[in-house]
């Protein structure tokens, strides 16, 4: 546990010492803020409802791009610079390394989401506000981020090239976010059901409506788990 935290801590301090961190945070807050409050057609004032639905759907889409851009370097860079060798010859296992990186990624996203708390506070004073649904929405965003961070880490583990890692993460993301849903709609029977279960956006939608189902929980956790196991496998493939 100590090793995992040491790795995560180093990663976080490097992230918050880099310009990219602030560009990404500003972009995230800028996008979500604009579409939640200012865009006119479709924003909170237009809908005349005191909820965070707009924010959740736009944050969902922003994080979809935001996450691969922070996960792309996590393992690819270590491989390229050779620091992977440095870490793994110290008392650090492959799995501890992957989990440390995952934890760092998750904490970066959680920080970004914490910065949107003012939205929550403001909207909750505007009218009849459903706290449960909104907290569930945040929870859903974190679960979804966790799955995408796992996928991003796996993408980062297959190559030394960060751009390749970014594109692979985005491609896998597109499958989970859009394609599986489309396939399930254009088919029927078992295939439709399988792809419906696999589609990440379906699970996210149901949580962001305020319903936390164990089925959705298991889905997000198992996507994360499998992605991390695959990433660990790719790291150990140096043999």
């Amino acid at each position: 546990m100590k090793q995992i935290w040491t790795i995560a801590k180093r990663e976080l301090s490097e992230f918050y010492n880099s310009l990219i961190a602030y560009i990404l945070l500003i972009a995230f807050l800028g996008f979500t803020g604009f579409f939640t409050w200012l865009s006119g057609n479709g924003d909170i004032f237009f809908r005349k409802q005191a909820d965070l639905q707009v924010f959740f759907s736009i944050a969902n889409l922003t994080l979809f791009f935001f996450i691969p851009s922070i996960t792309m370097k996590l393992l690819a860079e270590e491989k390229k610079v050779g620091t992977l060798e440095l870490l793994l010859t110290k008392p650090v296992s492959d799995l501890q390394l992957v989990i440390g990186k995952y934890l760092a990624g998750l904490l970066m996203i959680v920080t970004a989401l914490l910065l949107t708390i003012p939205y929550y506070v403001t909207v909750s004073t505007l009218g009849n506000f459903d706290h449960g649904a909104s907290i569930a929405g945040y929870f859903g965003l974190i679960l979804m981020s966790s799955a995408y961070i796992g996928i991003g880490l796996f993408a980062s583990s297959i190559s030394k090239n960060q751009i390749a890692a970014f594109i692979v993460a985005l491609l896998i993301g597109v499958c989970f976010h859009f394609l599986f849903d489309i396939v399930s709609h254009s088919n029927s029977g078992l295939i439709a059901e399988i792809f419906d279960t696999l589609s990440l956006s379906n699970h996210f939608d149901s949580i962001s409506r305020g319903v936390i189902d164990t089925k959705d929980l298991i889905y997000f956790l198992s996507v994360t788990f499998f992605a991390l196991i695959l990433a660990q496998f790719m790291v150990s493939k140096r043999n």
Binding site: T6, R10, E85, L86, T89, K90, P91
Partner: protein, 307 residues
């Protein structure tokens, strides 16, 4: 801690990088790992440090196979090309490494201070690693490898990129550490091995081709021994003839007839020098110079690794 390596092999695809090598390193010994590029030095070191697994063979530390024991706390490693986190300040980086190496929290600042002093990083300690010169980066790499005072130190080309003064310092440092610990270092700078190592291991194409001290390697080396001499006489041709008649002498080349320089090949340098001296005494030829030429490690190395 003793390291015993038995029949270690590793292939990359069809290529055998390390092919059944066996050797031993004892506590208090500095082993120099020599070999041309691509001989398998780095691969062997990566296996000892458990970065990669061996295809076959065993590595034992104090009679325990490395896979079964927890030796990473006791191994310090400086990888080839010295990878570092360029964006981190030196102190933070050393702190990070100490934490990963399970140095007790209370001892970390003391250890960092000690390493900074030992490796001469005092003026650079607050700089980012990317701002350091190559030599200082190398020192950071060494400091990182020794921060937890490991029993075993494995250094892949520790002196590349250092200036001559630094090289001397680092060699002294390694020598001092090597008195109590087990050190394996690889290099292709031959004088370095002679200056620092107790034992030399030459590997070529994944196999060990020589194992011993610099002296034993010289003795094993084939070829005649050479004496360079400058003997004053009326005619260099006459001198050559007289020298050729001596029993131990195998051949004489006139190097330069005007300065009377000769290159004399013999079976044994010491005996040759004696008889040359007696001959010159007899003929009343002044000996201006007589230098036995040691077989250079370079020549031994070339002999063993070029075929």
């Amino acid at each position: 801690m003793n390291i015993v390596i038995d029949n270690l092999s590793k292939s990359y695809g069809n290529q055998k990088a390390v092919d059944g090598i066996s050797f031993e390193v004892k506590t208090g010994e500095i082993l120099g790992f020599l070999g041309p590029n691509g001989a398998g030095k780095t691969t062997t070191m990566k296996m000892i440090t458990q970065y990669i697994n061996a295809d076959a063979g065993t590595i034992k530390i104090d009679n325990t196979p490395i896979a079964n024991g927890n030796f990473r706390d006791n191994v310090g490693y400086l990888p080839e090309h010295n990878p570092l986190y360029q964006e981190m300040p030196v102190i933070d980086y050393l702190h990070f490494c100490a934490e990963l190496q399970n140095v007790p929290k209370a001892e970390i600042p003391g250890q960092i201070k000690k390493m900074v002093r030992l490796c001469g990083l005092d003026r650079e300690k607050h700089k980012k690693i990317s701002e350091l010169s190559k030599g200082y980066k190398q020192r950071v790499g060494l400091a990182q490898a020794m921060i937890h005072e490991p029993e075993i130190l494995i250094l892949d080309e520790p002196t590349t990129g250092l200036d001559p003064n630094q090289i001397v310092e680092i060699r002294e440092l390694i020598k001092n550490i090597g008195k109590e610990k087990t050190v394996i270092l690889s290099t292709h700078i031959l004088p370095e091995v002679e200056a620092t190592c107790d034992r030399i291991l030459i590997i070529n194409k994944g196999k060990i081709v020589a194992d011993g001290t610099a002296t034993t390697l010289r003795d094993q080396a084939q070829g005649n021994q050479i004496v360079k001499a400058r003997i004053e006489s009326e005619s260099s041709e006459n001198t050559k003839e007289a020298l050729m008649n001596l029993p131990q002498i195998l051949g004489v080349n006139i190097h330069d007839p005007h300065t009377h320089r000769f290159e004399i090949q013999s079976t044994s340098t010491v005996d040759a020098c004696r008889s040359i001296f007696r001959l010159c005494q007899e003929k009343n030829w002044p000996i201006l110079e007589m230098i036995p030429v040691e077989t250079k490690l370079e020549d031994i190395f070339r002999d063993l690794t070029l075929n």
